[in-house]
């Protein structure tokens, strides 16, 4: 058997173009699909004209807030293209270079500061959009709206926090920083204590009654206003959002993308190589000669599967190693990777053998293998909920019959902890492996025709 394996590797080496295609093409497809799966929508490019003076600060009641750094916040969410004039911003939007332009006017901070004065102004930002593309316009609207909502929320929180501080001062007393100095505020609680202390010294009479009323007010106000503080804070953020994922955990997109790339590579190498090399035995008329006492059909099948697993393993591991340049992988789980790739590879290889035994020529077989593997791979990537339930059930059955999906599950689970158990997929793969081996054995009987 090892001589046959050596022979197949020699043939592979002799057909450099085929070998390169066999290895490079799957890797290319795998990386492309991986990219497509992992890459979220890009950050939109937005021109930013910031006319606010660098030293301007939002201040409330004379207290300057730490720099809110509006610019940084915006540029976190979108790709900022800094411009220096309104005309430049307009030109960029018109040319389509940017999706939109955001103009923060010079008086923006002053207007915000005026919110807490007796003559509040209306702070405004300006957004320039190229409305020729409705899709783009929609995206911009969404982004800007999200940005503004966030800015308003931040501002409201700050105002509420400031308000809370003043309230606290009134209740508990303390120093109010004013104009470089500070004024000591007594506070309701301390006032009540003082009044309570004075009360016994007063003679009974209308004065004492009046004082006890004031003391009572101070106590009640202190207690009730104490509740008001948290209430104001709540007002600033009426609803908090807590994201809860239901229906099992899904692997992080990056891990999943890598698993997809690895499984695609493994699938193409194993299926195409085994199917093609088995068909080659037939094309070269070697099958009857080999099975005439030199090797059994079973051993030949075993050799092909071994070939698929060995080459598939090498290529897949190399690809994963190459990917570590871009994404960190948990090499400590290497043993699990090996298990997933070997069992997945064996299952895919036997499926390839069954395909290879079905057609007569290498070319027809390669095409067949391609036509089966690619659609099944894509079907395996269809997430539930994106198609109708009936259709999804059909897809589930189809993808369960071919080793791609269980191999993907096994590899995903092997790459990172918490992506579901590896046992189920491995068992699934083993069952498919046995089934396809039986099919391949049956199909091989037709090979004996001379």
């Amino acid at each position: 058997m090892r001589w046959l394996l050596l022979k197949d590797l020699q043939i592979l080496r002799r057909s450099p173009l085929q070998a390169v295609l066999l290895v490079a093409y799957p890797v290319l497809i795998a990386v492309l699909v991986g990219l497509a799966v992992s890459r979220g929508p890009e950050k939109p490019r937005v021109a930013l004209l910031n006319e606010v003076p660098a030293n301007a600060r939002v201040s409330l009641s004379g207290t300057k807030l730490p720099s809110a750094n509006v610019q940084r916040r915006i540029c976190d969410k979108v790709e900022c293209v800094h411009v220096h004039s309104r005309d430049e911003a307009v030109a960029k939007v018109e040319s389509g270079d940017v999706l939109a332009a955001l103009i923060l006017p010079e008086d923006l901070v002053n207007k915000i500061n005026s919110l807490s004065t007796l003559s509040p102004g209306t702070p405004k930002v300006e957004v320039l959009v190229n409305e020729s593309d409705p899709l783009k316009a929609g995206i911009v609207d969404d982004r800007i709206e999200a940005l503004l909502a966030q800015a308003n929320l931040t501002l409201a929180k700050r105002i509420a926090a400031e308000g809370g501080k003043y309230l606290n001062l009134v209740i508990r007393g303390g120093d109010l920083p004013v104009l470089g100095g500070g004024i000591h505020i007594l506070g309701l609680q301390a006032s009540a204590h003082i009044l309570e202390a004075i009360e016994p010294a007063l003679p009974n009479g209308p004065l004492k009654v009046a004082l006890s009323q004031v003391t009572e007010f101070a106590n009640q106000a202190g207690e009730n206003l104490d509740i008001a503080g948290p209430l104001i804070n709540r007002l600033a953020q009426p609803i908090t959002v807590e994201k809860v994922a239901v229906g099992g955990s899904s692997p992080p997109l990056e891990t999943f993308a890598i698993a997809v790339a690895a499984t695609l590579t493994l699938a193409f190498v194993a299926v195409l190589l085994v199917a093609g090399s088995l068909a080659l035995e037939r094309e070269e008329n070697a099958y009857p000669r080999l099975t005439r006492g030199l090797v059994s059909a079973r051993a030949l099948l075993g050799e092909k599967v071994l070939l698929g697993v060995v080459v598939g393993l090498v290529v897949t591991i190399l690809m994963l190693a190459g990917l570590t340049i871009f994404v960190p992988l948990e090499w400590s789980r290497f043993g699990l990777w090996l298990a997933a790739i070997v069992v997945g590879g064996a299952s895919l290889a036997t499926a390839g053998a069954a395909l290879g035994a079905a057609a007569r020529e290498v070319r027809a077989v390669s095409l067949l293998a391609f036509m089966v593997t690619l659609p099944v791979a894509f079907l395996s990537l269809v997430p539930s909920g994106t198609v109708g339930q009936g259709l999804y059930d059909v897809i589930k059955v189809i993808t369960a019959l071919f080793p791609f999906k269980p191999a993907l599950e096994a590899i995903t689970s092997a790459l990172e902890a918490g992506n579901g158990g590896i046992g189920g997929p491995l068992l699934h793969l083993a069952i498919l492996c046995i089934a396809y081996a039986a099919i391949a054995r049956l199909a091989l009987r037709r090979f004996t025709r001379v």
């Binding site: 001589w3 046959l4 022979k7 020699q10 043939i11 002799r14 070269e284 000669r289 005439r292 006492g293």
Partner: protein
């Protein structure tokens, strides 16, 4: 080697209808017949590739070598790699020595490193035969070995095969060329539509043809042979 009453059916079609013959060591037996006569079917049953539906095959001691009609070798490997692979699969004790032996026998020593696909059909056929010889057979079955070869290549092939027979191998070959059968076969087995029409020395076949197709007796042997087949209803 002996065969008796061999029957082979493919669905309703009877490819062999009770064919029998025998061959002795050093004998060169030509199985001749038009395309579809059942030559390949007969040889592959003798080789054990296919099972007969009836009749029996007796092989003396030793193995039966089989050289299929279409070269069964790896065209992307070199001459040497092919020979080495099959020598190893035959579990020779010293595969490299067997390779050298076969390179001498086929006269392809200088071309040992060449990819088989680049060799001429004649040279490919020689390697095809050499691989069949690696099992060191006492009986060698050659299915239309000269098809696709030019006359010079044919001459070299038959020289090579005759030498094998001279060293004690029983050679059974098929051909659809009556002249080749007559020239190189000690014995001729005529097959048509799965029936054995004649089994005997080549000279006797000429006599039988003259006797049964007298109108074509003065024409060339091939024409006369076709007339003979026609008389026999084929």
């Amino acid at each position: 080697m002996q065969a008796r009453g061999l029957v082979k059916r493919f669905g309703d079609r009877e490819a062999l209808k009770g064919v029998g013959f025998s061959a002795e060591p050093r004998e060169l037996v030509a199985v001749i017949g038009p395309n579809g006569a059942g030559k390949t079917t007969l040889l592959s049953i003798l080789a054990g590739i296919q099972a007969a539906d009836g009749g029996e095959v007796e092989t003396g001691d030793g193995t039966v070598g089989w050289v299929p009609q279409q070269a069964a070798l790896y065209r992307r490997l070199t001459v040497e790699e092919n020979l080495l692979l099959f020598a190893r699969l035959e579990k020779h004790e010293d595969p490299s020595a067997s390779v050298e032996e076969m390179l001498d026998l086929t006269g392809l020593r200088e071309r040992r490193g060449e990819i088989v696909a680049r060799l001429s059909g004649g040279n490919q056929q020689r390697i095809n035969i050499a691989i069949g010889l690696l099992s060191r057979p006492s009986v060698l079955l050659l299915d239309e070995p000269s098809v696709g070869l030019d006359s010079r290549q044919r001459a070299r092939l038959w020289e090579f095969v005759s030498a094998l027979a001279g060293r004690g191998t029983t050679v059974i070959f098929s051909t659809h060329d009556i002249q080749e059968a007559e020239r190189y076969g000690n014995r001729v087995l005529v097959l048509a539509d799965g029936e054995a029409l004649f089994d005997g020395p080549a000279e006797e076949l000429r006599e039988a043809v003259r006797r049964e197709a007298p109108e074509a007796a003065d024409r060339d042997f091939e024409t006369a042979f076709v007339a003979y087949l026609h008389h026999r209803g084929h």
